[in-house]
């Protein structure tokens, strides 16, 4: 067991995966010599050599397109997109190619690769360093979409993603890299050191994709969240004094519908929280699924707490960020109704 930040956990997962499987190669913009702008790959080039971990030209489509070719060859590429906000140039390669190759070739060719990218705001990054594009991937069959919320999960889920035989979009909430930020910017940000989920096994381990985890048991209502919003929801649960069950979805596609159904059928009330813009965000799918599976148990309308349908602003970041206060309000609302 060691204390790790999410960055260290991600680096460690790369390291161990590369040690045990020399098909694993890691690349992206500034990931080689420098080790990535968030340092998630630092030390890997030195340890494994330039053919296992290297810098790429600034071309996201090229990074993913080349990764697809490598995966088709038989390697296990792990590509980093510097910020999720910059994944769009690669969208065609992801949607039309990576996600389709197994199906269109009837399994003759496969595409096991991982595309990692930092997501979310809270760092005054403005509209192009703050986005959460998960819903643009959950609509694409053939992809898997993973969002860890802590170092323990980040290590295990990244290993699981690398082992997965299909393309995985791995979204890393950058606001959680160094600590479990709970959405209270006015308070000092706690480090992972003081958080139980900052305790990480030293050995290699892979967590299965598609399994949610209950972060907090509760009887009054269910809060569905992932990434940074898990910690915001936890804080809101405390602040509200309600018995809220907080579910960390961890994998959005495929979704752990069982866990969601079980909890909402128990509580009869549901709040959905995400940082992405509301309209057609992943919260829409969650809301649809919950009412399809739990309609007769629902005692109040499902409420979505999300980023607004505007670009992520710079100065007004905290007016945009769906913080604990807004989540508490939503929790009270579903209790009242």
């Amino acid at each position: 067991m060691s204390q790790m930040t999410m960055i260290e956990a991600i680096r460690n997962a790369h390291d161990l995966a590369m040690e045990r499987d020399d098909r694993v190669v890691v690349f992206g913009e500034d990931v080689g010599y420098f080790g990535g702008v968030f340092r998630c790959t630092s030390g890997l080039q030195e340890k494994f050599g330039k053919h296992r971990c290297f810098d790429t030209p600034i071309n996201e489509s090229g990074i993913v397109g080349a990764a697809i070719g490598m995966a088709v060859y038989g390697l296990r590429p792990v590509a980093e997109i510097q910020f999720a906000d910059y994944v769009y140039p690669a969208y065609d390669q992801i949607v039309s190619e990576a996600a389709r190759i197994r199906h269109r070739s009837a399994g003759e060719f496969t595409c096991p690769l991982v595309i990692r990218m930092p997501t979310g705001g809270g760092i005054f990054g403005g509209q192009t360093h703050s986005q959460s594009p998960e819903a643009l991937f959950t609509h694409v069959c053939g992809l898997k979409v993973v969002v860890p919320s802590n170092p323990q999960d980040a290590k295990g889920l990244l290993a699981g993603a690398i082992e997965d035989p299909d393309p995985v979009i791995f979204l890393e909430p950058k606001r959680l890299y160094n600590g479990p930020f709970d959405g209270h910017p006015e308070r000092p940000s706690p480090p992972w050191r003081d958080h139980p989920l900052g305790e990480v096994e030293d050995e290699y381990y892979a967590l299965p994709l598609g399994r949610a985890s209950i972060r907090r048991d509760g009887a009054d209502l269910t809060v569905l969240a992932y990434g940074t919003m898990v910690h915001v929801a936890m804080a809101a649960a405390e602040d509200s004094g309600l018995s809220a069950e907080v579910i960390d979805l961890r994998t959005l596609l495929p979704l752990d519908e069982e866990a969601v159904e079980k909890s909402v059928k128990k509580t009869g009330r549901c709040v959905i929280v995400h940082e992405a813009t509301r309209t057609s965000g992943f919260g829409a799918e969650l809301s649809a699924v919950v009412q399809e599976l739990c309609f007769y148990s629902l005692e109040a309308p499902i409420v979505r707490v999300t980023g607004w349908d505007t670009p992520y602003p710079h100065a007004q970041e905290w007016s945009y960020f769906p913080g604990p206060a807004r989540v508490v309000r939503a929790m009270r609302q579903v209790m009242e109704d």
């Binding site: 030209p57 071309n59 489509s61 090229g62 397109g65 697809i68 390697l75 039309s96 269109r104």
Partner: protein, 411 residues
């Protein structure tokens, strides 16, 4: 040249020949067969710039094989090549008819371009991987892929290895080094580069071969392929098949103010050659040269195959709406089958009689395979991949929500 104060105006390139016009290829400079020089495979790209403006041609009008690119080849190898091209053409013709008869939804021929894929394939080793477009079915023919299986795919019948999922001719076969053809243009070139990089990372000796059409070189991903190939000097051969047309759009729209497509290589330090795409021997020689460059780790090569799309873009297209009916006849580089045949006759390895005989045999063989395939079914009749198959292979393991949907669908 207008002066500073005159208003600007948009210049939109147009082909010299539209319906009603007289075809005119007078400004298309064609070197004589045997004229183009043959650089060493490790010659400095900067020293080879001229190759992007010339055209490597081996077969003369009279059917001689001339110049430094002419290899000593056993005639049975050339006869195989001839048979490959004739088979490709026969299959195309049968399938085009089958499509018109309503036996499938769509078909796309490579009429007039048979030499490009058929000749190139013979220079590859087992394990090498092509990343083709829909117009390189010749790669499969030349690698001995079963005609019947191709027809099964075209019919989406229960013998279709792709389980009815794909549009006709979007084949995929690993063992034959033929990567799954994408319906999205331009994506495959950077994938070929990545595949080649992987081979280099793994310390392997396999190489990748990318294919793209003249019009598709406009796609932004063409740049990704060139940048990555150049930066990592990937073991790949990148082929531009310039068949003069992109549906209704002439090649000048993609080429812009450049003189040739091969020139695109110069901005990346990638050696580029132009080859007569209707000259089986020239394509084979240039392919061999480029494959050797890749396999020996010298780096990537860009090849422009100069050819002509003799038929419609596809079964959905009627070219008479946008180009002259007489353009095909005016095309100066002739027909690849005629030209190889003339050579073989000239060297005494072939006769007109044996040719017509071969035509008959091949036609009969294709009809047999077609009949056998139709016994399994066509798109509109007989055995089909079931709707159940549609849910397979979205993922290696079917997740719960897809299993539920499959039940909902009644499979």
């Amino acid at each position: 040249m207008k002066d500073d104060d005159a208003p600007l105006s948009l210049s939109v390139p147009e082909p010299k020949c539209r319906p009603g016009d007289t075809p005119d290829f007078s400004d298309f400079v064609i070197p004589k067969a045997g004229e183009a020089r043959r650089p060493e495979i490790d010659e400095d790209p900067e020293e080879m710039r001229d190759m992007a403006f010339s055209i490597v041609r081996v077969l003369s009008k009279e059917g001689e094989a001339l110049g430094p690119w002419a290899e000593e080849l056993p005639s049975d190898l050339l006869l195989d090549g001839l048979r490959h091209m004739m088979t490709m053409r026969a299959l195309d013709e049968r399938m085009m008819t089958a499509q018109r008869q309503g036996k499938t939804s769509f078909y796309l021929r490579c009429l007039g371009e048979e030499a490009v894929a058929c000749a190139f394939q013979t220079t590859l080793d087992n394990g090498d991987m092509n990343f083709p477009t829909y117009r390189q079915s010749g790669l499969l023919i030349a690698s001995g892929y079963p005609i019947r299986t191709m027809i099964n795919q075209i019919y989406s019948n229960c013998g279709d290895p792709l389980k009815g999922r794909q549009l006709p001719v979007l084949y995929a076969d690993k063992a034959h080094g033929f990567f799954s053809v994408s319906g999205n243009l331009g994506t495959q070139l950077i994938q070929a580069v990545g595949w080649g990089m992987a081979s280099a990372i793994a310390g392997d000796r396999k190489i990748a071969v990318g294919w793209i059409g003249d019009g598709s070189t406009s796609e932004s991903d063409f740049h990704a392929a060139m940048v990555f190939a150049s930066t990592y000097s990937a073991p790949v051969v990148l082929n531009i098949v310039n068949n003069q047309w992109a549906i209704s759009t002439f090649q000048g729209m993609a080429r812009g103010k450049a003189v040739t497509f091969a020139e695109r290589g110069h901005g990346f330090g990638i050696p580029a050659l132009r080859v007569d795409g209707n000259d089986y021997l020239a394509v084979r020689a240039v392919a061999k040269w480029a494959v050797a460059r890749a396999r020996s780790g010298i780096g990537p090569t860009l090849i422009e195959h100069v050819t002509y799309r003799a038929g419609a873009h596809s079964s959905s297209d009627d070219p008479s709406a946008y180009r002259s009916r007489r353009e095909r006849a005016a095309w100066p580089l002739g027909d690849p089958i005629d030209r190889l045949k003339r050579h073989l006759v000239r060297i005494g390895a072939w006769t007109d009689e044996r040719h017509s005989q071969a035509e008959a045999e091949i036609d009969a063989m294709v009809r047999e395979e077609q009949a056998a395939s139709e016994a399994l079914g066509t798109l509109v009749s007989g055995g089909h991949p079931s709707g159940r198959d549609m849910f397979q292979d979205v993922y290696a393991e079917m997740p719960p929500h897809l299993r539920r949907q499959r039940r909902e669908a009644g499979y």
